[in-house]
Symmetry: C2
Subunit: 203 residues, 2 copies
């Protein structure tokens, strides 16, 4: 955040700053450990003002989810510029590989937030599910364009692979776990683009 | 827990009950949301007694990790009875598929605990890493026996796939995500046992 931005402190700007700070803190320390006071401090918003924008921590978590959904859509748009489905799917996975050092330290921001919210039994789980679907729906379209009748399953295998690699990279603090797993998934995608090979077909 | 067991309340028995209750509560609601008082109540141990066995919640989390490691070793022993590496690796994944309904509701107990502890920067992350390695070391041996020079990578891809599938199954509350992903990994293992096929080779 630059100083010039900090002086523009209209209501929308403060809300945005709180959301960005919440996103960052949720990623680094998880939702349970994050307080509204910490978010206010990181966003340089007076603690008493937070309640004007977010009544509860759950409201802030929802805003962070919505913000991640926006990030994912932006990332997907950049991948959609690739010429064909295999290149698009590889570009999608590249978004995670490019962030592998951060993933190895704090996990995938999306996946680790989902994992934490999954323990709950309220509407935030549905919000987390919608976040995953932003990626999976688009990946499914790519697999369908590749002629896969099991496009939904393929999307789940692809994104599950990325998420599982992120978890292991994070726990072992080893970014290269991401690289190796994505290389494997790339080879799987390549094998689909050559229909004569059957070895890696999803039965 | 049967009544006859509950009357045997030697120190070892209480410690065991606290550990089992902690494991269960950590799985269902995560470490942050779990209190020593809840664990004491679930274990039917007077709250004041807990401190005799576990000074802090972290001590209890460590005991739960050790207990999960024991469970994983027992599971692995049952898989080791299979005649060859592909059958053993499939039996390993079967341990998760068999629990898919529970996984879809509360996540993989091991993976979701790792994901939560990964945010920290203390010794518990190493404990979580050792837990993953119980599975990955054994899977690596199987891939080595299959003649894979990249056995470690294969183990990581296999267990990452299982963990990612567990996360997506949990977020979407859909146990069949596990089944489909494991079917895919089984096909990958089968393709290794037939070295003439190259489609799914890890480059």
């Amino acid at each position: 955040m630059t100083d010039s931005k900090r002086t523009r402190s209209g209501p929308g700007d403060k809300r945005h700053r709180l959301t960005v700070s919440a996103r960052e803190l949720l990623h680094r320390q998880g939702a349970a450990a994050t307080t509204l006071a910490q978010v206010a401090e990181a966003a340089q918003v007076p603690p008493g003002n937070v309640y004007y924008y977010f009544k509860t921590k759950d409201d802030l978590v929802r805003a962070a989810i919505e913000s991640w959904a926006g990030e994912l859509r932006t990332g997907i748009e950049s991948c959609a510029a690739q010429p064909d489905p295999p290149a698009r799917l590889k570009a999608l996975m590249g978004l995670w590989v490019d962030q592998r050092d951060l993933v190895a330290r704090f996990g995938c921001p999306v996946g680790s937030l989902c994992s934490e919210l999954d323990k709950r039994d309220d509407a935030l789980v549905d919000d987390a599910g919608r976040l995953l679907r932003v990626v999976m729906d688009w990946a499914e379209e790519q697999f369908r364009e590749l002629g896969r009748p099991d496009a939904r399953e393929c999307a789940s295998i692809l994104f599950g692979g990325v998420q599982g690699a992120a978890l292991i990279a994070n726990t072992l603090r080893d970014p290269e776990v991401m690289t190796a797993h994505v290389r494997h998934l790339e080879a799987w995608i390549d094998s689909m683009a050559q229909p004569s090979r059957e070895g890696s077909a999803v039965r």
